[in-house]
Symmetry: C2
Subunit: 586 residues, 2 copies
């Protein structure tokens, strides 16, 4: 059996940053080459970043992608790395992208493409076959599917190349790879993190390896990009699904492993093997002979798995760190109230950016308790983040001397005055403001629009309140296990949550207990379980009516976006229709 | 030739309001029946509203749609309207919608459906064939395509039924209708308004009627729904494309016309006619004999066309009016600065809701000019809207006594203090806040996040500044033509635009002249013309660099959303993943 040394570049690209991403690929290629690799795999759309969204519809951007792919191939060759075959993910298009009569974007022939570059040239361009169009994915909007599978013969082994969703769907292209007698299938991914996805991914790889009858080299990118976070977790599995080597979670890595692979058969049976599938197969011969012996690699050390809480923490930390960096900020600012949400936000920020880049401010009103101020100061002391106090009461009083306000209007006023102070400090000093709201609050509208929801990034917006408490406890225990000071004062974790916007206010005045609320939200929002089914599962009908009514109807929710009437085909009405980056200069 | 009396119900449904929409359909059916109609056509998804977005993924909602369709059929029968065949748009699904392993939503078999109900029963269920997935459309995300065309024989004429995009694409199903010998094709639409779309639609109808060799009854809904506005403009055209009857623009209407139509041929050639197309055809026999003579209708009076400016004005007015009503508000509130944007917003609001429901407030800072205050008061006087003055300087001073601010931070502080006052008044009195920003400003980030961008609805967010001026002039002239007072003081139109956030500030200090800016924005944002191409078209390279840099990189833009790290498959990260209405109780 021929042996091949496969390298996976678990890099962290930035959407739109063609030059920076190309530099990453060249750096990984250098290290893979020096390690004696016979093939380097990079991520899905590694040259332009993922998710590329509406940049995919700008013809100047696609043109630049195509040109930069050729430049990258030439650069690799010029640097002496030409002998190493490297996959590069990029945007392609069949022809010039002109105006179309009726803008069925698919008809413009834009492709989610993988090129294999070798000796300064592009050997082939594979176009992703399965285009996901659910959840966070919108690929039917941008791309048309490819229907040809490319195999490259490298060191006497036929290697098939696929992109992300291609592996998640049964049938072709993996079935075509099996019929073509592939000795290895490469899967290049930008697969967003979800809780529990590592296990799902691992099981899927086992199944696909078994059904395809060959090992799989699965490469996933890493890092935060806008809302998404990629967890790495690249894996090389053998035909039985056994883990040969893997990449770190939430950190860049270069995975290198030697694989004994099935020797390629004769050419010439292409017509037969593609029969019965809607996919043709093209073979490319790079090197027919087994490669020379390179000696054995040091034994591969498998990367450790993470506990469930550590995994979530690392996802949140990575998402925050990369959002700040990729958007050109260095430091963050937020209100530190002494409550659990801003406490967890503070520790996440310190872990992500270093305490010296974290600026917190307590902004007490007349209803703020002394223990809240003390707890906030205690946390700042423990973590070393910057901390100041700016009372809002004088500003609140200035508004009240002008307008007669009561009830909710008065509560919201305090939160909004804090928003004004945060944005003023942000404008003056250049910090990115963080919004410390959690998923439970946002779901039921228990937050103040333009108040505590102010900010450019909401690190824990997708974390239910009960999980916030668990993460706080886990982070403290994690510190203690490492002989460090627990960052979060115990009182912040144990006291009942309160917005402190009126005397003796508690969250429980307005909301059910968070453990009940979060269970209902999980079922109703994430689980698509309707009202009648919730009652059938034993939840109190009044409670179900109240919670689902809050979710559906919260006035704040309705006001949280400012839609307006569209009068042209393209408008600024939907975020993704905005040019999303200034990093591309096409 | 048999004569049929065709009625089109140009109604204004609300997304999620199944009961209200069913009542609309019953009311239109009553009027059509009383007018002697042989067929009533209602809009695309007339029972559940359009765009239904993520409600389409809730199985309880689809179940309710299916049940309410049957109830509607029974109600029509019970009311004595059973003999009138009525099309009803609704959501269908092939079977129970359970959890799916891998959430390719298409695999759940959800359908954008049209049912023909007659005599208390559903005659057939047609599933939309062409699913648009570009621009404002996301139908590949929600629906699977149908591949069967239904023909109903009514009064001896074979009528084919299609939905919206089905007409915009060449080939089937219109080609299948031609081959099947249809005497009439019905096209049921929810087709959003764009500038110039009426002409495009008219030309398309001519082409399709000619190629299909029969008349077309085209029904479009009317009214605002979230960001979209539907303009009505229903049309019945003969085989030559001549306009037989039409519906109003931007107003509910019932179009009734008598058509002489081709007599249906024999059944039995279904196998042949569907050959060569990927679509089967099913025929349903409601009434083979020509219907009894009903006497002639009074001559049809064609609805007038609108001038380009009136058309845009009506679109903006309709979008605003329906957003307010459909979200349960009665009144609106906004800052009236004395500038052109808030002036146009004020007049639009008065036209949409009546002056007594419109609340405007001038909020001068130390940099506000007396002429601005005078102009605002003058406009309020002319239009009869409510108007008060609330100075912000004391609140600004209270902040400044606490924080040392300068430059942009100081400018933004004034705008944000106004946002606080508006939201406080909104909370206290229940008005919906309007954000009066225009498209040019938003595109280049020339607005203050949480300041003048505060609001639940931005009526003119898609209107370039130059068009704002044109609309202001048109509205004044329109008033004068009708012998009314011009609502907008001439000085508001003629003075140079200024944000008045520092001494002697002018927009032209920061931005190119709006006529140049708007031309570049149109090319760069809407036209996908890149930097190099703009320079080639004769625009100054520095200007191109500056404007496109503002569009791509405006710091405000980057901060205008607060994304956060997603850690679950569904989250609140994308608006459309939110339950969008409290009007559905499934």
């Amino acid at each position: 059996m021929p042996t091949l040394r496969i390298a996976l570049a678990q890099d962290n690209p930035t959407v739109g940053d063609l030059k920076g991403n190309a530099a990453q690929i060249r750096s990984s290629a250098r290290r893979a080459f020096d390690a004696g690799a016979d093939l380097l795999v990079t991520g899905e759309l590694s040259l332009c970043g993922y998710p590329v969204e509406d940049l995919a519809l700008r013809h100047t951007f696609i043109q630049q992608c195509k040109e930069d792919l050729l430049r990258l191939a030439a650069d690799l060759e010029a640097e002496g790395l030409g002998p190493l075959p490297v996959t590069v993910g990029y945007l392609d298009a069949d022809g010039p992208l002109g105006e179309v009569d009726h803008p069925t974007e698919g008809s413009r022939g834009i492709r989610n493409a993988l090129a294999l570059v070798h000796e300064g040239k592009v050997v082939f361009r594979y176009y992703k076959h399965h285009l996901p169009n659910y959840g966070v994915f919108d690929e039917d909007r941008y791309f048309v599917a490819g229907h040809n599978l490319d195999l490259a013969r490298i060191g006497g082994v036929d290697i098939a190349f696929t992109i992300c969703e291609d592996m998640w769907q049964q049938g072709v292209p993996f079935e075509a790879a099996r019929q073509a007698g592939a000795g290895l299938v490469v899967s290049s991914n930008a697969s967003p993190y979800e809780r529990g996805k590592a296990d799902e991914r691992s099981r899927l790889l086992q199944r696909r390896a078994a059904s395809t009858e060959c090992p799989i080299a699965y490469l996933n990118v890493v890092g935060g990009q806008d809302e998404l976070v990629f967890d790495g977790d690249s894996r090389i599995v053998d035909t039985e699904g056994g883990l040969v080597a893997n990449g770190s979670r939430f950190a860049e890595d270069l995975v290198v492993a030697d694989l004994d692979l099935k020797e390629a058969g004769e050419f010439g049976d292409l017509a037969n093997l593609s029969a019965g599938t809607p996919m043709s197969v093209t073979r490319h011969d790079l090197s027919d002979a087994p490669r020379a012996d390179k000696g054995a690699l040091p034994p591969v050390e498998l990367r450790p798995t993470l506990s469930p809480h550590q995994e979530v923490w690392e996802a949140l930390r990575t998402g925050l760190a990369d959002y700040v960096r990729k958007n050109g900020f260095k430091s963050v600012l937020f209100g530190l109230s002494g409550g659990i949400d801003s406490a967890v936000t503070a520790v996440l920020a310190a872990d992500a950016l270093g305490a010296e880049q974290v600026w917190s401010v307590a902004m007490p009103s007349q209803f703020s308790s002394q223990h809240s101020l003390d707890d906030a100061a205690d946390l700042a002391e423990r973590t070393g983040i910057n901390h100041t106090v700016e009372p809002v009461q004088p500003i609140v009083d200035a508004v009240l001397s002008q307008l007669a306000l009561s009830g909710l209007a008065l509560e919201n006023l305090q939160a909004r005055t804090r928003g004004v102070l945060l944005m003023a400090m942000s404008n003056q000093h250049g910090h990115l403001v963080l919004a410390p709201g959690n998923k439970s609050e946002y779901a039921v509208g228990y937050s103040t629009l333009y108040g505590d929801s102010v900010g450019g990034f909401a690190p824990i917006k997708d974390v239910p309140k009960t999980l916030i408490f668990e993460l706080a406890k886990w982070r403290n225990e994690h510190a203690e296990r490492n002989g460090e000071t627990a960052p979060i004062p115990e009182n912040i974790i144990s006291k009942p949550p309160s917005a402190e916007l009126r005397p003796d206010q508690k969250d429980s005045d307005s909301l059910p207990d968070y453990d009940v609320l979060d269970r209902i939200l999980d079922l109703y929002v994430d689980g698509d379980v309707g009202r009648a089914d919730l009652v059938e599962r034993g939840y109190d009908p009044d409670l179900v009516e109240r919670v689902t009514g809050l979710v559906d109807g919260a006035e704040y929710k309705r006001r949280q976006t400012a839609p307006g009437t569209k009068i042209s085909a393209k408008s600024f009405g939907r975020d993704r229709r905005l040019p999303i980056t200034n990093r591309f200069r096409g």
